[in-house]
Amino acid sequence: MSTEQEVNKKIEEGVKEAFPMADNVDWNEVYQRIIYRYSTPHGLQHVKEELYKLEDEGEIIVHHIKPYNNPVKMQSLNGTPKVIPTNKLWQHKSCGQCGHIPGYPTSVFWMMNKMEIDYMDEPHQTSCTGWNYHASGASNPVALAGVYVRNMWRAYEIDYYPLIHCGTSFGHYKEIRNMIVLHKEIRDKLRPIMRKMDMDIVVPEEVVHYSEWLYTMSKKAVQQKKYDLSKVNAAVHTPCHVYKLVPEDTIYDPDVFQGRRPAAPSGTVQNFGAKLVDYSTWWDCCGFGFRHILTEREFSRSFALFKKVIPAVEEGHADVFVTSDTGCVTTLDKSQWAGKAQGFNYNLPVLADAQFAAIAMGADPYTIAQIHWHATDVEGFLRKIGVPVDDYKEKFIQYLADIREGKTEPQYLYTPHRKIDFYLSVPERVKWYKGDKGANQKTS
């Protein structure tokens, strides 16, 4: 009898694997359903199982998503759930965004303020070093794992869940997470280094990109929408590192391109009421190339223009290009000007989904979305959707003049850091910023 039960259990599992969420569904409906069975060499399920096994054995610490992170269950490529935490988040910023598209992170912060989401943004974060690594190869697996775990530790020790801003960091961290989980030799080399810094190997149970968070929140965010986007043709560039690295660990949604393309940022654009337009090279990269954007710009320029901007405009009649990663915004935005000399005057506005959403929700296009860092005609696009750009601009120019002359102090999205925080990462820092309400923190 027990063998029969075993067999039944095996079949249950087999069927479950084929259509994971279909325990009580109508079979006819199941016949119609498209089920992806993407498998990376090890399979994400396997990695997750190993992760919890290592936690049980005390090999690693797992940073769990807690109820106060307001987790929302989304669906990944295979139909398996991916849990997106939506509150109490640790901002893992992007170096390229902060350096060259500062309106990108500030739009994220601004929306979180608007939706009353608790977050921490700290000086105790390094970049993921993925840009340097993919460009030059000047790193190694242990160093990459060390950088990842160190950042994760800083989030873990104050019990805020890491939210990754950069697409490359996101994809890269997914790979590093798998590597740490699957390779003991990496953990063994990593552990003494972490101990040197009074840390241990901590791995969050999900790696989450902000665009996934934004899509998850978009239906709520859109309630605060200020401008009508229904006449906007928006083309989307889905960043490669978001969905091509560990493909089964990115959210998909049957509502977005029938579940055949990543849910973010296309779904966000859709939920904000813009018309999503399609073009044949949607899956192609933007031309950033990590090294190419600095030293092979002929390639980056040509690729961005001919493979992305021109198809988006000619095939999709796009008014705006929305994307969700650092390099893509930079490449698509900056590469268009040089085309003018050759007669390719497209000037298609390029925005990150965060900026796009924040502006639609009424964020100041200059002080918050910081569109003056963009080379393309974002202002023209904003005028089209009814944003009083000129009023904002006038005010902003005055603001800049006042800052320059020392007449005013900069405004802040959250309380500026204390001096000590620029030197040491003191564990009780959360209390200072959040008072006692941030007190369900770890004292590990």
């Binding site: 350096g99 000086p123 810094m197 190339g289 003056h372 900069p410």
Partner: protein
């Protein structure tokens, strides 16, 4: 007028330099194994390094996981952005690897490997689940570790990025966008660099108000980054490629570490007077 002297003597068919193309080469070489004969196409001074390099790559813990097999279908190359512009294709690399062609790998790693844009389209689409872009990274890592000429060349313009990432854990600086360096980015880049100071000050986040760093990390964070880079052996490979850069970072590391230790000690003993610290540790 086309019949110059040289042209007149050149035959339509030229004999290839690579003896592997010629069946007749067996006359001279005898029937030697492919692996041995492959090497003869390399310059004698390169042979030893080429073999060592290939052995090192093959013994990396990721190699067997990333390279699984090849159906020769070409999906990787047809989706490849770099293959649309350069004489480059992922299938080429996979085939060299599958066939143990140390000489071809050597040629590939000294040039073509740098064409890849790391978009991972090939990895996502490969029906055999090869982690192709990851294999490219393994080759690139080892070319830095072996301090190959191509790696040195590639890293030269990257010095500043490397310096920033190693010492501050942040890869870009806003002020790196200088109009002279980016003339193709047009007038906006000029405007941006002209107003850099005030543009940065107007950003509503205190961490992002400097022009020389994307966000201002803490001193402890910077020291920890350098600790990871030294302890994990990354700096050892930098030493081989760019010894000056190594020395510079080493000095900074020692300075910052002792500054941090001093501040930490004082803080723990409640002796630290915060007012005496400069606003930024970068000014220490």
């Amino acid at each position: 007028m086309f019949m110059g002297k040289k042209m007149a003597t050149r035959s339509v068919l030229e004999l290839p330099d690579d003896p592997r193309f010629m069946d007749m080469a067996y006359e001279e070489q005898g029937a030697v194994s492919e692996e041995e004969r492959n090497l003869s196409s390399l310059k004698p001074e390169d042979r030893e390094t080429a073999v060592k390099f290939w052995q090192a790559v093959k013994s990396d813990f990721r190699f067997d996981e990333y390279l699984r097999g090849c159906l020769n279908c070409g999906v990787c190359t047809s989706g490849c952005p770099a293959a649309k512009f350069y004489d480059f294709g992922p299938r080429e690399m996979i085939q060299y690897m599958m066939r143990d062609e140390a000489d071809k790998i050597w040629e590939f790693v000294n040039k073509k490997v740098w064409a890849c844009v790391q978009c991972y389209t090939c990895s996502m689409r490969c029906p055999f689940n090869n982690e192709i872009a990851g294999l490219i990274m393994v080759l690139r890592e080892y070319s830095v570790q072996f301090a190959l000429e191509s790696a040195k060349e590639i890293l030269a313009p990257y010095r500043r990025v490397l310096y920033t990432v190693m010492t501050m854990g942040n890869q870009v600086t806003p002020d790196m966008i200088q109009p002279e360096a980016f003339p193709d980015w047009g007038p906006q880049a000029v405007e941006e660099s002209k107003n850099m100071d005030v543009y940065r000050k107007s950003i509503p986040v205190d961490l992002m108000q400097r022009t020389d760093i994307g966000w201002h990390p803490s001193l402890q964070t910077a020291v920890e980054m350098m600790t990871i880079m030294f302890e994990s052996g990354v700096m050892d490979s930098i030493k081989k490629v760019d010894p000056d850069l190594y020395d510079m970072i080493e000095d900074i590391y020692q300075d910052r570490k002792s500054q941090l230790e001093e501040i930490k000690e004082k803080w723990e003993k409640h002796e630290l007077n915060e007012n005496e610290l400069p606003d930024s540790w970068l000014d220490l």
